[in-house]
């Protein structure tokens, strides 16, 4: 199990845990990112910038702090 910031670009994994408050869970869920969903890391910016990931056809950019709280099981 690893968090989104540790994933390499292009890697795929299944979301297994999201640590965080109800607000974060709900915002991620609204964009279709929730437990059990497969995500691909699309990019990371330098110096702990935002992480972009793809879930299905949706591409989302989230801050580094949020990305650290989303854990995936790599394929």
């Amino acid at each position: 199990m690893t968090d989104l910031t540790q994933m390499r670009r292009g890697e795929r994994g299944k979301v297994v845990k999201i640590e965080g408050g109800f607000g974060l869970l709900r915002r991620l869920e609204a964009l279709g990112i929730r437990k059990g969903v497969e995500v691909t890391k699309a990019s990371a910016q330098i110096m702990r910038g935002p992480i972009t990931l793809k879930a299905g056809n949706t591409e989302v950019a989230i801050g580094y702090g949020m990305a650290r709280r989303v854990f995936v099981e790599l394929e």
Partner: protein
């Protein structure tokens, strides 16, 4: 009267459908959050007038932001009324995520019809959706549409009366499970190759390639704006004014006797016995020349390029790349959008601060934009004024403003209580903009400029004349002389420009032309004019957006920093 709510996720094309239904043109783009206010329009429905409301986009009816709260409130009010219905606009290429909202809507006490928009894009993304089956499972009509071309809109309207309340039963905690089931039954995703646009999309957010791409895009943007702006002025507008308008004005001047009150108001002062469109300052000479001859070409060029950037989907990607820098200013990457719009006109820039989530961010964003982002009208006039000094003069003015933007942002971030949230944004796919949509938006924005700016410019020029003839400017000049001359090193006549700057910044910059200022004085006065206070139109919007108390705080920051920066420039240049 019937009322129709357009609801759906952000950036699925609700505003395009709105325009199709009502004929009311609204600004649409390819990024989430273009619609920050709801808009109303009307359409004919079975010989009855129906009200259509374009609701800001929302991912869920359990709101996570202020904009989503607004959307949910509007829905709840509509549920209480008779004769209302919801057109749920769904992005067919993102069916799963969009159905989450659809299922929530189906539980509300209001008839729903689904528009499966962006239908054309499913074909080349390898998605096939069984519309009949989807309709059967949801229990409400589902109509495929391509709003940008108008495909399917007529069928959508024909089937509006079939809209019905949802009967789809489920427990809230198994909603995603239900969505999954619907998807499994109705959607097939085929294999497909990566398209060129997808590769480009990837390259533009990978730092190694993305940063060079961003630099190229930004520098090309400014080069194109300058090339088109200058070209239009030099080859079209100046010749038109000189060859066509000048003879008419010269005749009128003769008829009016070459002087006197009426002559001064309409034609203005003769410079060496001749009319000078830049300096005479009559309503029909300078008053017409500033907005049409000097500013309009740049407005045209700017929006031509901005519209393309907006509709292509590049802006959210730029937001990701600059996110880290924006965090130093207490903002996040999406703040690039109000800043970019502010370069055109500060009014839409101020409205666009709503893409930011917290009050603190909106305060910092709006204040920075109002202080350090000159609008295109002002930029065009500054370029005209300082152009003869070349890159050095422009560099001094715009370089100073950029430094102010950054330093002031860092300071506000340090001094204001609270933290700023992280970026959280959906990135739309790149789309090749439709030519028709681009030109329509360009025309809307130019019409907007002419309608909003022209009366104010004419009023401004008129007031200048009145103030001069009533000796008000002389009086103000004497009162403010210590600040104007000692601190800023400007001639006291410059006070007139500062007075008019409250009304229109382009006219104010134009008023500097006859003063015979040195380069240093031009730099100081242009920077101070940009910073010290927003024009009246921007001020009104800022009061609405920030509230009176925060606007007052913002105004104090503006005035103090303008004096400080102006004084410093006066000392060191």
């Amino acid at each position: 009267m019937k009322r129709i709510l357009l609801m759906g996720n952000p950036n699925v094309g609700k505003s395009v459908v709105f325009t199709r239904l009502t004929g009311v043109n609204v600004i649409t783009s390819n990024y989430p959050g273009t619609t920050v206010e709801f808009r109303k329009g009307y359409m004919r429905l079975e010989d009855e007038r129906a009200e259509v409301i374009d609701v800001p986009g929302t991912y869920t009816l359990e709101p996570t932001s202020r904009a989503e709260e607004v959307a949910v409130e509007m829905l709840e009010n509509a549920c209480k009324e008779e004769g209302t219905l919801v057109i749920n606009i769904v992005d067919a290429t993102n069916l799963e995520r969009n159905l989450n909202l659809t299922l929530q809507l189906l539980k509300r006490d209001i008839p729903v019809i689904v528009a499966l928009n962006l239908w054309d894009e499913t074909r080349h993304t390898g998605i096939s959706i069984n519309v009949e089956k989807l309709q059967g499972m949801l229990g409400v009509p589902v109509v495929p549409t391509v709003a940008v071309t108008g495909e399917g809109i007529k069928r959508l309207v024909d089937r509006l009366r079939e809209a019905r309340k949802g009967r789809y039963e489920y427990e809230d905690n198994e909603r995603w499970h239900k969505v999954g089931k619907v998807i499994e039954e109705t959607q097939r995703v085929g294999h497909r190759h990566h398209t060129f646009l997808e590769r480009l999309a990837e390259a533009s957010i990978t730092p190694f390639t993305g940063i060079p791409i961003a630099l190229i895009v930004i520098s090309t943007t400014f080069k194109i704006i300058r090339f088109i702006g200058e070209g239009l002025i030099g080859y079209v507008f100046e010749p038109l004014f000189d060859k066509l308008w000048m003879p008419v004005m010269a005749k009128l001047s003769l008829v009016l006797g070459g002087g006197g009150f009426i002559h001064d108001i309409l034609i203005g002062q003769l410079i060496d016995g001749e009319i000078d469109f830049g300096q005479s300052f009559g309503i029909l000479t300078t008053g017409i020349f500033i907005p049409i001859g000097a500013v309009l070409p740049y407005i045209f060029a700017f929006y031509l390029v901005l519209n393309f950037l907006e509709d292509s989907g590049y802006l959210p990607r730029l937001a990701i790349l600059v996110d880290k820098i924006m965090h130093q200013l207490g903002l996040h990457g999406m703040a690039i959008i109000p800043m970019m719009l502010g370069l055109g006109c500060n009014v839409p820039g101020a409205l666009a601060t709503r893409v930011l989530e917290t009050r603190r961010e909106r305060f910092i964003g709006a204040t920075l934009m109002a202080i350090a982002i000159p609008c295109m009208a002002q930029i065009a006039m500054i370029v005209g004024l300082i152009g003869e000094y070349g890159a050095k003069g422009m560099g001094l003015v715009f370089g100073t403003l950029f430094i102010v933007w950054f330093v002031l942002g860092v300071l506000m971030n340090l001094l204001l209580k609270g933290e700023s949230p992280e970026i959280f944004v959906e990135i739309p796919p790149y789309r090749i903009p439709y030519f028709g949509a681009l030109t329509k938006k360009l025309w809307m924005r130019i019409k907007g400029f002419l309608k909003e700016a022209l009366p104010f410019v004419l009023l401004g020029v008129f007031i200048v004349n009145i103030l001069y003839s009533l000796k008000v400017i002389d009086f103000l000049g004497k009162v403010t002389a210590p600040v104007i001359t000692r601190v800023l090193g400007l001639p006291i006549e410059a006070v007139a420009a500062l007075v008019i700057g409250f009304l229109r910044k382009d006219v104010a910059v134009g008023m500097l032309a006859p003063l015979g200022l040195s380069l240093k004085q031009i730099v100081v006065s242009c920077v101070v004019l940009a910073m010290y206070f927003p024009c009246v139109a921007t001020f009104a919007v800022l009061v609405k957006e920030l509230g009176v108390k925060d606007m007052l705080k913002s105004a104090i920051i503006m005035i103090l920093s303008a004096l400080l920066v102006g004084g410093l420039l006066n000392l060191i240049l």
